[in-house]
């Protein structure tokens, strides 16, 4: 029996009118394979770029502007979230030239706290404001029924979340039920719709550490793009390995190919495990040399990170003063 899938706009345009489980599967399984050794070699090569002086200064500021400052703990409290928001707005109180981060990323029930704490500073990072991103769809495992996931999403959007970080159903993906994964993304995307008809931006978390192979990552990337994801995101941060440079490179290649095909822009968000400026700069280089530096803007590239910000601040201080300070010269959250 042919399972007819929801006619998501992108998928229909690419695969034709009769969007079915089979046509989706044929497309995903027809994607060119990934040679792991070659991919990792290319990523390692990009990692050897030497970014100095003016380029480094620009890169450090840009990294801050691309950060989703994140707290995703069972122990999150309103106090903790307010503190995170304060840090997002003024990362380095000793240096008012420090840019703000792109967004704060919290659990859905903390969205009202974050929105309240941001006040007038809540908005589009392009306008110098800070967005609120909420993880949803039974984050991080994604093991809940679709109605629960949809309610989870609607809740966060209604509370003022600008961006939804959903997880795909890895179990369904690994079982070969691509159609299920696809339909869930389409449904969650629809749940991102606000009353005024606009949509919260949808980041689709692949949890690449659980998909395990690069071929799977490529297929999941295409699936998520076809289903309407605005961003594809590597990881929840709760599974190891989280973001790696080769995986991010592979996902960037997918959005690059989508752009070649359609002219449309899809974002990429590596999350989890990026802790140092040095590592983050490697990601900037990889973005610039794979999809072009126009991708280095908050609507197309984000870092999901918590401790990265402080390392960038220390590096910034070093560039300004000429010497290294220490962890006591940046605030802990």
């Amino acid at each position: 029996m042919q399972n007819v899938l929801a006619p998501a706009d992108r998928a229909v345009r690419l695969l034709g009118g009769d969007l079915t489980e089979r046509s989706l599967r044929q497309h995903l399984e027809g994607l060119s394979g990934v040679d792991a050794v070659g991919l990792e070699q290319r990523a390692a090569g990009l990692g050897t770029r030497s970014i100095k002086t003016t380029s480094k200064a620009w890169a450090l500021d840009r990294i801050i502007e691309l950060i989703d400052l994140t707290t995703l703990e069972g122990a999150d409290t309103p106090g903790k979230v307010r503190s995170l928001v304060a840090k997002a707005l003024v990362p380095d109180s000793a240096d008012p030239t420090t840019p703000r981060v792109a967004a704060v990323c919290v659990y859905g029930d903390m969205v009202p706290v974050a929105v309240d704490a941001l006040g007038a500073a809540h908005g589009d990072p392009d306008d110098g404001l800070v967005s609120v991103a909420a993880v949803a769809t039974a984050f991080p495992s994604g093991r809940a029924s679709l109605p629960v996931k949809i309610t989870d999403t609607r809740d966060a959007v209604a509370a003022g979340a600008d961006e939804i970080d959903m997880v795909i159903d890895r179990g369904a993906f690994l079982a070969g039920n691509y159609g299920t994964v696809f339909e869930q993304i389409v449904a969650v995307k629809e749940a991102c719709r606000r009353d005024d008809g606009s949509y919260a931006s949808l980041k689709v978390i692949l949890e690449t550490g659980e998909l395990n192979t690069y071929d799977n990552v490529r297929r999941a990337s295409w699936l998520s793009i076809l289903a309407g994801g605005d961003f594809i995101k590597t990881s929840t941060g709760k599974v190891s390995p989280a973001a790696t440079l080769p995986v991010t490179l592979l996902m960037l290649e997918a959005v690059r190919d989508w752009h070649r095909l359609t002219g449309e822009y899809v974002g990429v968000k590596p999350a989890g495990g990026i802790r140092t400026s040095k590592d983050a700069i490697k990601y900037l280089v990889t973005v610039a040399e794979t999809v072009g530096e126009q991708w280095l803007q908050p609507h197309l590239f984000r870092f999901g990170a918590s401790s990265l910000l402080n390392d960038v601040l220390l590096q910034r201080q070093k560039l300004r003063t000429g010497h290294y300070s220490g962890p006591d010269y940046v605030t802990i959250d």
């Binding site: 060119s32 070699q41 605005d230 900037l284």
Partner: protein, 489 residues
């Protein structure tokens, strides 16, 4: 989601200069010949070695006359008879291990010297050439006391004095490929580096002094082709090893014909890099780039003929052009440089001439739009599409950053086209299907075949050619056979 407008960015990709410091180099104004463990003046005059990136003079280098070559061969003979042939394999190994460690200790210095003199990007001399040099000495150091177990029969003996002539594309690495197995097998050496790139060999001579290698075991004579010709013709030489052009290789083969000298020749190539439609496409594009633009294409085993399956030709070429546009051409000492300088004016002329011929013959030329520095020798990475098997740029070795793209329809045609060349040094196969790779590799007449990668080297792996690409193997156990008596090469 908000509408996204393409922006120009702020020029992040114009990475700020990141030059490797030359402060680590302590060069002399002039270098003599390294004979019998010390530097001495040559009697054949001198020449300047320049940096091909700036055309500035680096140092004055002695030219070895016939008399100097005589002295060097005599020193090697003496060292062979009196010292080196009497040492145990374990003791020879100790010297080789010591040399390997000193190469590692002075790696940065050697890398800077190599990039300065040769024009290759520092990232390649630092990450490829010099680490491989150390690896080669470590590898053959391990063999020195195990020659009985190399599968060449019991108690294999050294040949005696080896005359070695090396090219300018990998000056120090080719030196290591030649010297390490020769010494491990118990021979002594007279080596002539290429005229345009003598510098790293002379720094290597300093390393030999540091390692206390007995005088005369390795001698280094500098000069032009004439010095090399004198060396390989010398009657007291037992072995000739040459890496370079097929033309010179032929001359050498004639010169040593009828003598007792054993010969290995590693010559030119026009390798096919075969991309099937089931290849991992992004990695294949990387491999094509690495295959022909690594070391400015100055690689004998470069994948200079891209054979791409016709049904993916346009897509591959399109992706290739996009990728090539991110390559950075410029100062070899900048850590972000991907494409350095062409080694010499002469070589640049050859590349230009052959490229012009390619255009005249009707192939479509595309070069990376990039700024070319004012001084020095440069050639922008170039690809030719619409090349036919009869085009000269598909037949002759260009030895530069120029790729000829041809198409094929079936595996059988790919094999036929790949083999349709007087050369046979290397080949590449790109496919996600293992059985296809093995079946095609089995029918390619090339000494080295890479599958889903290109231009990877390891001391344990033998390297050498079929047909006009030469004979004999370097590297691995096979590389020892070329320097031992009674063993089949």
């Amino acid at each position: 989601m908000k509408d996204i407008q393409p922006t120009d960015g702020r020029g992040f990709l114009e990475y700020a200069p990141a030059p490797e410091s030359t402060a680590i180099l302590h060069l002399k104004d002039s270098y003599g010949l390294f004979i019998d463990g010390e530097f001495r003046d040559g009697s054949g005059g001198s020449f300047s070695t320049i940096s091909p990136a700036t055309e500035k003079k680096i140092a004055e280098i002695a030219i070895a006359s016939e008399a100097d070559v005589d002295l060097a061969v005599a020193a090697a003979r003496r060292a062979y008879t009196k010292t080196w042939s009497k040492l145990s394999g374990a003791d020879r190994g100790k010297y080789l291990f010591r040399i390997a460690r000193l190469v590692q200790e002075r790696a940065r210095e050697l890398a800077v010297a190599e990039s300065l003199d040769n024009g290759k990007p520092i990232k390649e001399s630092r990450d490829v050439d010099v680490p491989l040099v150390a690896a080669w000495f470590f590898y053959y150091a391990g063999w020195a006391d195990k020659l009985d177990h190399a599968g060449l029969g019991a108690n294999p003996r050294a040949l005696g004095v080896a005359a070695q002539v090396i090219p300018w594309n990998f000056p120090l690495l080719m030196l290591a490929w030649k010297i390490a197995p020769a010494l491990a097998a118990g021979n002594t050496v007279v080596l002539k580096p290429a005229e345009t790139t003598p510098l790293s060999a002379l720094l290597f001579a300093e390393i030999l002094q540091q390692a206390d290698l007995p005088p005369g075991v390795v001698n280094i004579v500098t000069g032009a082709g004439e010095t090399g010709a004198t060396l390989v013709r010398h009657p007291d030489v037992d072995k000739v090893a040459f890496t370079g052009s097929t033309g010179v290789g032929r001359e050498i083969a004639k010169a040593v014909a009828g003598t007792h000298k054993k010969v290995t020749l590693e010559l030119g190539g026009k390798a096919a890099n075969i991309v099937f439609d089931d290849a991992p496409i992004d990695q294949a594009v990387e491999g094509i780039v690495n295959g022909i633009f690594f070391n400015q294409g100055h690689v004998c085993c470069a994948g200079s003929r891209l054979l791409v399956q016709e049904n993916i030709h346009d897509e591959v070429v399109d992706r290739l052009k996009q990728r090539l546009s991110t390559l950075r051409l410029g100062d070899p000492l900048d850590k972000n440089t991907d494409i350095g300088a062409i080694n010499s004016r002469e070589q640049l002329e050859r590349i230009r001439t052959l490229s012009d011929i390619g255009e005249q013959e009707g192939a479509e030329r595309w070069s990376v739009p990039c700024e070319i520095p004012e001084n020095g020798f440069w050639f922008a990475p170039t690809i030719f599409t619409g090349v036919t098997t009869s085009s000269r740029i598909a037949r002759e070795e260009i030895f530069g950053p120029v790729l000829s793209v041809l198409t094929f329809r079936t595996p059988a045609e790919a094999i036929a086209k790949a083999n349709n060349t007087p050369y046979g040094l290397s080949a590449g196969i790109w496919s996600d299907k293992g059985s296809k790779i093995l079946a095609v590799a089995d029918q390619l007449r090339a000494g080295v075949i890479w599958a889903n990668t290109f231009n990877r080297f390891d001391p344990a792996s033998p390297f050498g050619g079929y047909k006009e690409s030469g004979y004999g193997r370097e590297g691995g156990r096979h590389g020892l056979a070329a320097y031992l008596k009674g063993a089949s090469a």
